[in-house]
Amino acid sequence: MASRAPDRRRNNPPSHGTTPPVFLSTSAGDINPVQAPSRPPDEIRKIFLRTGLVSSVTGSSFLEIAPLKLSVSVLGPRPLPRTSTTPFAAQAILTTEVKFAPFASTVRRGYVRDSSERDLGSRLYQALVGAIRRELYPKSRIEVVVTILDSEDEGDEVNTVCIEEGKTVEPRFWDVGRSERALGVVLAGCITAASAALADAGIEMFDLVSGGVASVFVDGSEVKGKAKEGAGPGRRYVRDPSIAPLDEGAPLATCVLGYMAARDEISELWISGRLGTKSGTAEMDELVDEAVAAARSSRGVLNEAAKERIQFIVDKAQSADPSAVGGKDTEMTG
């Protein structure tokens, strides 16, 4: 034989050689195309939400808000495990689990859930537990599993805000609300997507829960103009804030909530930051109202997403009906 026998002890390259893959444009130019600066502060980012993507579970959904991508699976109601230590459960037991994929952020996440993931899980539980008609599912458990596939960088203590390439920029403020905003957007996304997945699973609920986030910043432009002297520095409310910092204004507080629009009730609330209380709860109320408005906006998307798949099934059933009259073989092939 002319050709030599291949070396079996090593991984051999293909005989015809390879060409390295060439990726188009990984330049810094389009690293951050998501936050269009033109978005008005009272408008939330576009949401992509679809249900029924995982066929092996009872209900599922996939959600995308700019860089955030997450998928939710709902399992059950299924019987409690035989080893369960809970006594007779007259209501379904809800468990929630939130896990970042190892590749979901710039810093690699471990496979074991860390404290922030457990915390997100318990908040999601709090947001959903009241909405589910658990008394209809005795002796069973409903599991909600969220996998976050991609997220905006949480900014691990590093304020890359103030740094631009090659030159030191004088920081105007320390962006303290960064990680709160990041977690808030993730939690709101989890709540909205989990509601869609529960609806897809056909689990009865009192109302759909949608998530909303709002942040309040010091309004730098207004301070300069001195439009409201005496009323303190102006405040700027931003619904669905991005992690990327705003041009002016130090962050004051972030509010995340799970909101049941049909009942006007807040099932989960998390405010972090600093709000004055000289005028009672007025500052908090304004922030909560903004977050509620954000949740109302995402509720519209949630409603449509929840209906979308059912509508598809209904349409299919209706289009199948006349063909059933026409001939039987069409049904057989289907």
Binding site: T58, R133, P138, G202, E204, M260, Q311, V314
Partner: protein, 204 residues
């Protein structure tokens, strides 16, 4: 009668105008959907017969989630046994006090996960309860038709076969041959003709 799709939380009408059916709940005097699906209103049968007296019962309103396919795989996923459900189950273990079973069909629909249940010795048949022996009623592997009498304790549903139509519907003999029922308490092997004792369900 069906109409457009609704989502959970969507009000469907005042509570006094309808009788709430499945998939809905009442909140603030309103019938509210608790599922994504189609609204189905059915006029109550009694009114149509008695030609609308003033005290006629209002129509029943419910929300139904259309199933994905004809085999109803999707909708049966949220199926749970309830009291009085008729179930099919497979006997997994027996002892002198009870037979442990795995429920796999509830009200004629296959469920996603098996539910564990027990048929206690006093629930096997209606008469002569004291003389019932589990070992002459069931064997592991038998397929049993039973009724749920209680949601039971933390792990088991309590089932009963105390009715003529309930009991073993399919069984293999000790040798492993299929058997057919010959009377209410005996089954016969189709190959060897050996007769074994069972609590047999009335076939028809």
């Amino acid at each position: 009668m069906t109409s457009a799709l609704v989502v959970p939380g969507q009000p469907l009408g005042p509570a006094h105008a309808y009788v709430p059916g499945s998939g809905v709940h009442v909140f603030n005097g309103q019938i509210v959907s608790s599922l994504v699906g189609q609204v189905v209103t059915t006029a109550s049968t009694s009114t149509s017969a008695s030609a609308s007296t003033l005290t006629s019962t209002p129509p029943t309103i419910s929300v139904v989630k259309p199933s994905v396919a004809a085999d109803e795989e999707g909708s049966s996923a949220t199926l749970l046994p309830d009291v009085n459900s008729e179930v099919l189950c497979r006997v997994t273990r027996i002892n002198a006090r009870q037979a442990t079973v795995a429920v796999f069909v509830v009200n004629g629909r296959v469920c996603g996960d098996d539910f564990q249940g027990v048929i206690r010795v006093q629930d096997v048949r209606q008469t002569e309860v004291d003389r019932v022996r589990i070992f002459t009623s069931f064997r592991p592997g038998d397929i049993v038709r039973a009724k749920v009498i209680s949601l039971g304790d933390q792990s088991n549903y309590y089932l009963s076969t105390a009715h003529n139509s309930l009991g073993v519907v399919m069984a293999n003999s000790e040798a492993g041959d299929p058997m057919y029922p010959i009377n209410w308490r005996e089954m016969k092997s189709s190959r060897t003709g050996v007769v074994e004792e069972r609590k047999v369900a009335k076939p028809f």
